[in-house]
Amino acid sequence: MSHTVDDQPTFNRRHFLIGAGGLSALALGGLKVGPASAAGLKVAAVFATPIEEPWDNQIHVALLKAEKQLGIEYKWSENVQEADFARVMREYAQKGFQLVVGDAFAAERIARQVAKSFPKVAFLFGSGAGPAEPNFGVFDNWIQEPAFLSGMIAGKMTKTGVVGAVAAMAIPEVNRLVNAFFAGAKEVNPDVKKKVAFIGSFFDPPKAKEAAIAQIEAKADVIYAERFGVIEACKDKGVYAISNMSDQSSIAPDTVITGPVWDMFPTIEQAVKLVKAGVFTAQDYGDFSRMGKGGSDLAPYHDWDAKLPADVKALVAQRRQDILDGNFRVDVDEGTPTSD
């Protein structure tokens, strides 16, 4: 990969966040201060993981886009451990931030309690549970539609008839994507066999890589890379990969065919609009992550545009249109997937 470094952020404040959760849980979380815009809406994000975590990163990317395009003022804290979650949320709420975004999976109860004590602040959190009146809205990565489309490509591209998926752990957010991926593969290739591996953590690329290698030895030749590390294994072993969450073609253009992409911007845009108008309500914003709302899609094919067989492309394009038109619904299956 090329040696590019993203723009250096300005650290205007630094937080020492010492987590009581684990032995290695010491973290330095930085608050980034964006360009001052007095008229802009003040939006903060509280992330439980480092910003590289693919899930949180998509929220972060959408908020940066909102900073540019909608003129919001954006600050964030990352790697906020459970013990600090309430304090960091409160700090933002007290400092006049009108919208606080984040992922609540590690701290559902805490996030909801804090939200209750600031009824005038809008909270929008990634959550597996429902919204809570009056001000706690939720969203989630409802991107099973492009995961299904990716599975169709995998089912068509496999030569061995075995497709794999390497994922973090069997939680609903992961299961529904992996299951949709396999459902897509099965639809176009009913005899396809599936391989599933969970690595038991969110960040262990060497382990994810080893899990992918084990699947490749078991004949898998298209693997859904839910976590970092899988694409590298596929590249080394000369099989195909399906990326996850963002367009990761640049890691290995010849290896990564495409993959589901989550775009949180429509969700953020909607929430910002409602807060600005003073009509933010506690609702499930999950719908804004669907393809129909522009909240998710397949990653661009890049070089694969020329390499994918025309019939495969046509098949996927047709199904994509069916989904957009509302004529096809991808089942949400949150059961734990298993290997055949």
Binding site: M1, T4, V5, D6, D7, P9, F11, F16, I18, L23, S24, A25, L26, A27, L28, G30, K32, P50, I51, E52, N57, H60, V61, E78, N79, G164, A170, V196, A197, F198, I199, G200, S201, F202, F203, D204, P205, P206, K207, K209, E210, A211, I213, A214, Q215, E217, A218, K219, A220, F228, G229, E232, S246, Q248, S250, I251, T336, T338, S339, D340
Partner: protein, 315 residues
Amino acid sequence: MWGLVDQLFQVGFLAALVRIATPLLLATLGEMLSERAGVLNLGIEGIMLIGAMAGFSVAYFSGNLWLGVAAAMAVGMVMAALHALLTVSFGLSQHVSGIGVTMLSSGLAFYIYRLVFGQPGQPPSVTAFQPLPLPGLSALPVIGPALFSQHALTYIAFLLVPLSAFILDHTPWGLSVRMVGENPHAADSAGVSVVARRWQAVVIGGGLMGVAGAFLSLAQFNAFTFGVINGRGWVAIALVVFGQWRPWRCAAGALMFAFIDALQLRLQASGLGQHVPYEAFLILPFLLTIVAMASVSRNAVAPAALLKPFRKEER
């Protein structure tokens, strides 16, 4: 099921086992050396993380992977020196200091990575170490591709086993390291500087821990991410006990853990997952390490002065 059996007799399984064992082996040898001198180093988890970060960062900017490995070793030594200062020179609790070193190292690794790389959406990467087939040996059937087409760091890690056994058992320096770990007052009477010897063992051990981390970010993978150590340091501490503070047995422990880990990844890919929850597979290496450790360590005798600070005037 037959697919699984077939897979276990493949070269790939043996190769994966050796690959997975490498960072554990380096870390375990480092921890063993430190403990043989009487100093438990719980800083290992953090030292491995900051080693992975430093190794990656230096390799990224210099374009030289070996420079990265050297940097990881140097940073590991610096963090271990802090532990030596607190526990050997100041005689503080080894447990408290070790945990402190892990927390400080983890925090520093995070902080420095952010200062250097900012908040990249996709972690920046380097071209990692490529496997280095040994001429002649790699042509052997089965064990050639499995054992002799590995990373250079893997060969080094495994050569360190006989080397450290030789140094500990057959050199004056090794003898004095064991003495300060067993009976520092006797060593002191014999004219050995207990403080110097402990410092040396702890610092060299830290260097190995740093390299263990760099193996993860420069050989087994090509980028640094924050959770990358993921408990491997704590596993190494258990493996030292399992290995009864002896290099060959520590190596056997690392290989055993890696064997189960490579096995469970293949079990997950087999149809067994339809009958057994995946968590059961994931926990296997840890479970068996605990079982093995519990059965073996009954007879194990830790270095007598482990955890005991040395003060010349005290007995």
